[in-house]
């Protein structure tokens, strides 16, 4: 394919998307409305202090306790901006600690509400309905504490089953949104739930994948059956590399079983930051070729959310780092995988989950030049971070799904911290966008940015 034609089309698509950003500030982080985040992105110590505070908030037993933690973190920040010095002074008195604790807790709750749509699926329905009216579908993700016992795995399974019921019920009454409900390959379920295998079993062991598979299989099978009965889509999230083999094998194996030949619609995740993700895609496509399922497997292409974890784990063990360490290499791989996925259609359905305007524009442009229809691809954004991009995509007539975490503050904290860390990283696309990097540079091919 003519590279120049692709680049030209990417520029065109990217410009159209940028023009459609609802807020001309075009800055999702500004939406968090927290100057602390800007400061955090600039100062590593402050960033560490804030994230450690956010992380511990749900475990604190009183406002006093909260304030003591906040002060403990802040005293490790060497260059304290004036508001921090004021906070440290407040922590010296009991009344001051109470006020500081209350302010800290309120700030964290405020941030959490940007990312987490409700305490449970029922509470999330107003938001999901509003999104649907605005032309945006959703995939609900149930946040929870880590699963370390069988009882916890059972509880998570039951919560997922209940969520499927709630979602199927609620979405049945919503008005028609043709773009969100069908593509060239057929109907698309309205209700959509993302689940984590690590929550469906306490027995995921990196060196013994079969063990976690055996334990998670009955619970996942029940959810697939229920999704099939309700006509809902079940998406199985990917987590760290430690569990990739267990999760992918388990899902493909279950979906191969005759009882699931006609449903439900289901999907997996491909993480472009993994160096060996092209081989993982081979595995997925080989499976899809031999599969006789009615619903093509949905492959959600993401960058991957466990970058720090993967790097740290590899360095501590002396292993080759399994993820790309240069952003440009990762972005280039994302585009190569996008192209391969598009070329593999209709074997699989393609979902592009990225907040990187270049990656998204590339998918749109590449598909058009391959002769595809715009609705061949679903674009996915994260609630709270990709809201503006989601609306811009919808305004351009593209199919958008928002990934909507649901859960209480305790359960949501790990998710929240990950999102915050991910998006204050200096290499983050959102960080560049927030810093006012010109559009042409944001849309430049990976590795060619100046």
């Amino acid at each position: 394919m003519d590279a120049t034609a692709v680049e030209t089309e990417i520029q065109r698509v990217g410009q159209a998307l940028a023009d459609a950003f609802p807020s001309k500030r075009g800055h999702p982080l500004k939406a968090i409305d927290d100057r602390a985040m800007d400061a955090a992105a600039r100062d590593a110590e402050l960033r560490a202090a804030l994230f450690r505070f956010v992380d511990v908030v749900p475990a604190c037993r009183s406002l006093d306790d909260l304030a003591a933690h906040l002060a403990g973190f802040l005293e490790n920040v060497h260059t304290q901006p004036p508001p921090l010095r004021a906070a440290m002074r407040m922590s010296d008195t009991k009344a001051g600690r109470k006020a500081l604790g209350a302010a800290g807790a309120a700030g964290v709750r405020h941030m959490a509400h940007r990312f987490i749509v409700g305490e449970d699926p029922a509470a999330a329905l107003p938001t999901l309905e509003r999104l649907w009216r605005e032309g945006i579908a959703a995939s609900v993700d149930l946040l929870g504490e880590a699963t370390v016992t069988a009882a916890e795995a059972d509880r998570y399974g039951a919560r997922c089953a209940e969520a499927l019921d709630t979602l199927a019920d609620a979405y049945a009454d919503m008005e028609e949104r043709p773009l969100l409900e069908a593509d060239a390959l057929g109907a698309l379920p309205r209700a959509n739930l993302s689940v984590k295998v690590s929550a469906l079993t306490p027995l995921l062991r990196p060196e013994a994948p079969a063990r976690g598979q055996r334990d998670a299989a009955p619970r996942l099978r029940e959810l697939l059956r229920r999704a099939a009965r309700l006509g809902a889509h079940l998406h199985i999230d990917m987590e760290s590399l430690d569990s990739r083999e267990a999760i992918l094998e388990l899902v493909l194996d279950l979906l191969s079983q005759p009882e699931f030949a006609s449903g439900p619609s289901a999907g997996v995740v491909l993480q472009a930051y993994l160096r060996d993700s092209p081989q993982t895609l081979d595995t997925i496509l080989d499976w899809a070729r031999s599969s006789e399922r009615r619903h093509p497997l949905v492959v959600r292409l993401v960058k991957g959310a466990y970058w720090d974890h993967e790097v740290v784990e590899a360095r501590q063990h002396g292993w080759n780092v399994p993820v790309f360490e240069r952003k440009a290499a990762c972005d280039a791989n994302f585009e190569e995988l996008t192209t391969r996925l598009l070329e593999a259609q209709p074997l699989v359905r393609v979902a592009i989950a990225s907040h990187n305007l270049r990656s998204v524009s590339h998918a749109v442009a590449r598909n058009r030049l391959l002769g595809g229809r715009d609705d061949d691809i679903e674009y996915q954004v994260l609630r709270g971070l990709g809201d503006d991009l989601g609306h811009a995509l919808a305004a351009n007539g593209l199919r958008v799904r928002a990934y909507c975490p649901v859960g209480d503050l305790v359960a949501g904290m790990a998710y929240l911290v990950r999102r915050l860390l991910e998006n204050t990283a200096n290499e983050s696309f959102l960080h560049d966008q927030a810093a006012g990097v010109p559009l042409a540079q944001l849309l430049a091919a990976p590795g060619t940015e100046t």
């Binding site: 933690h69 403990g72 370390v148 069988a150 306490p202 083999e245």
Partner: protein, 522 residues
Amino acid sequence: MSLTLPPFANEPVLELRRATERAKLAVGLGELVLPIRVPVSIGRDRRAGEELVSTDPGRPERIVALAARATPEDAGAAVAAACDAFPSWAATPVDDRAAALLRAADWMRERRAALAALAVRECAKPWAEADADVCEAIDFLEFYARGALQLAAGAPLLQVAGERNELHYAPRGVCAVIAPWNFPLAIPTGMTAAALATGNTVVLKPAEQAPGCGLRVVEALRAGGVPAGAIALLPGEGDAGAALARHPDVATIAFTGSGPVGLELLRTAADVAPGARQLTRVVAEMGGKNCIIVDSDADLDETIPAIVESAFGYAGQKCSAAARVLVHEALHDTLVERLAGAVEGLEVGPADAFDTDVPPVIEQAAQQRVQRYTAMAAEWGQLAVSRAQDVPAEGWYVAPVLATHLPPDSPVLRDEIFGPLLTVEAVRDVDEACDRVDELSVALTGGLFSRNPRTVRRVIARSPVGNLYVNRSTTGAMVGRQPFGGNRLSGTGTKAGGHDYLLHFVEPRVVTENTVRHGLVV
């Protein structure tokens, strides 16, 4: 010094999350030929025998090694031979000694799967732990080779006109290495390598449960170029070890094992034997009763898996294993409920199955000991997990136990049980937890889970243990990263895998030369 080496780096463990790596280990096990015959090996002499038998703890009828059983006379002969070999090995340039250790490391690297497989069979080390044991053995060789090169430079002294001052380190002589079975390759290799690197000769007595692994250590060193006379192998039991310890020509005893044996060695060494020309130095690593403190702000999602790993990895048979959890009363019930659920999910099974979380304990006596303490815990406290029936009938299996509500004076809270038995106690606050840790006469490892930096600092200041781990598991010390060893009655305060470890194997000698002749500095 002409030998220059790249900086030390830990030997990477296998990436067992990848199927291809797991397959390598399975091949290693398939190629393992048993039983291994282990002679008493002194210099060029080898005396075969079958009196000492090591078996697979998971299948006791499977014989892993048939060893000669060293007698006290063998011990005497071995020390005599090591004495004879000492002058020549001590005079061997440090570069050559270091190079021999590095070649021994290479020998082990080429046989990683086979060595791990032997540890799986002889000591029921599960795969990941067996592989880590081989890596740690390699690390010790690499680390102490570098350390010896550095030590050979001596230490700087103040110099004044007219005199030349020098401090250099000389080897002490014959070192008796008395090794345990729980790190059957790493620990004998480490103690032996430290002694050899610094120019001592060694008589190695491996644990009676692990003569096969001991043989491999000696083979590696000899294949690397350590002269046969400089390293003797003495498979045997307590009497052989005792004979070594009281031998007047043993200059250093390097011991890792139980408290009672260690204290006996210290007593023996302190009693200067008639005819002895040197004080015997003892480097001893003994047991612990390791506590993990959990404050009210701990993240249980992280804490529980870390506690499980610390207490039940290798069936609790690491000196660093956690035995007691001291948890803030506000979290006690939640922690016990979740921890019990996690323990119930542990798979008890053979060491060679990747699925296994808790392998069998080393021998029948250990099984009975754990059962005895379990019964005691059930009588005086409560068992939060009880699944005694749920283990394989053959082999030295015991079910993992979680016990609560024990009286403070219970032996279950005091004695080192060395098995998969963990207790939980509620405390008012972290200070009370520190008080309970402080009451103990042992101080090897400790753990703390807290997200408050001030609490962390407070506990660090009060903690007597040799190795304190904050917000992580208490096991898995790495050479060069977590120098390992305990305080109080847990050991002599020496740190294996640390920069000052080699100093225990040498004696400093200072030479001052007058450089003034006829009033002139020449």
